[in-house]
Amino acid sequence: MKKLSGLLLALAAAGVTLAQETPAIPRTADGKPDMTGVWQGGSNRVGTWEEANGDGGLGGGPAPATAGRAPVQRPAREPAPYQDWAKVKVQESFSRRGIDDPMARCLMGGIPRSTTVGLFPMQIVQTPTQVIMLYEMFHAFRVIPMNAKHPDDMEPSYMGDSVAHWEGDTLVVDVTGFNDRTWIGATGTFHTEAMHVTERYTRVNYNRINYDVTVEDPKVLTKPWIMHNSIMLRTGTRLREYECAENNSDIQHYEQLLKDESVFRRK
């Protein structure tokens, strides 16, 4: 108690006022941080879904400078570390304004994109032996065994094969066995079946998981591509059905546009 009072006094002395009370990080019986809940990737805003997204910032764009929020300063951006020949391919997708996006054809987004896309919630169900991740977007799911090896009969797949272990309070998920039909994140960021993704989930406070990702693919990248993002708790949100293949009229629109690429291609 004395220690706590001392800490509070020290904080007060430093001019730090305690923000509104947030609950402690929940923990499972074995003492690990419990990430069970509904979350939104690609965002850094605290609050319910509507509070965090109602102003049109869906997907985690820069937070608007509204009352009570300091303007967000972005760190310097680094180009994705593609090999020269592969850069040309990424640039070509950019020039075509992402018309070739596999997700436009309702194909699952892969990892890490399914997490970072931001527009749709994801749900984590954590047990001592497995972590289940459910994505509203295209109904993707991952059943991730703890302390297991990848199976030896993997077929290349959109979401890959995941196994996890704890490093302290960080859940480390190793993902491999991908096909080459997803994008890593931004427009055109393709990869090969050699892609290996390491995800690190650290619940740093009640509302936020730090989502740190390392993507390795020596066939297209010059070095590991390291990304830092956040996943925010969205209490009160539930996953709904999101069937994409029915009534996807954008594809017919695309077919018309592709007859004359100059209509949409970047100059």
Partner: protein, 142 residues
């Protein structure tokens, strides 16, 4: 206040993967971010459906000629979560103003962003321009 600043500073440092909001398909392939449009008219139909919702709007020009416009927007899940209610918030017969961007094919088709209702209330029916098309800078640009 200082505490808030610290929180947001840390949050910002973490957000290095700051890809533009990615919808399930490209904005820029279909719509022209350089052709914003604001129209006021009467709703004729709302298609509240996956993977994208649409509404249709009768717009009367200064000569009294009526044209029916089609506007694309978010799927129902996203609309529900940001304050919309099916058959309540937007329905045939309602007069609204919509801001968005025109389709590249030049037809009466557009991507909706903000809808303003008669009582002045505003809601977003679709994501910002540039969503899902790579935005202004390619991932490999220096």
């Amino acid at each position: 206040m200082k505490k808030m600043n610290i929180c947001w500073g840390l949050a910002a440092m973490g957000l290095i993967l700051a890809a533009p909001a990615a919808a399930h398909h490209s904005f820029g392939a279909e719509y022209d971010g350089n052709k914003p449009i604001t129209l006021t008219g009467v709703i004729t139909k709302v298609e509240w459906m996956n993977p994208h919702s649409y509404f249709f709007l009768d717009v009367t020009d200064s000569n009294g000629v009526v044209a029916n416009w089609k506007f694309e927007g978010f799927p129902p899940n996203v609309l529900y979560r940001t304050g919309w209610k099916k058959d309540v918030t937007l329905k045939a017969g309602d007069t609204i103003t919509v801001f968005g961007w025109r389709a590249r094919d030049g037809t009466n088709w557009a991507h909706s962003r903000q809808v303003t209702f008669k009582d002045g209330k505003k809601l977003f029916f679709g994501p910002p321009a540039g969503t899902g098309d790579g935005g202004n800078v390619s991932a490999v640009a220096p």
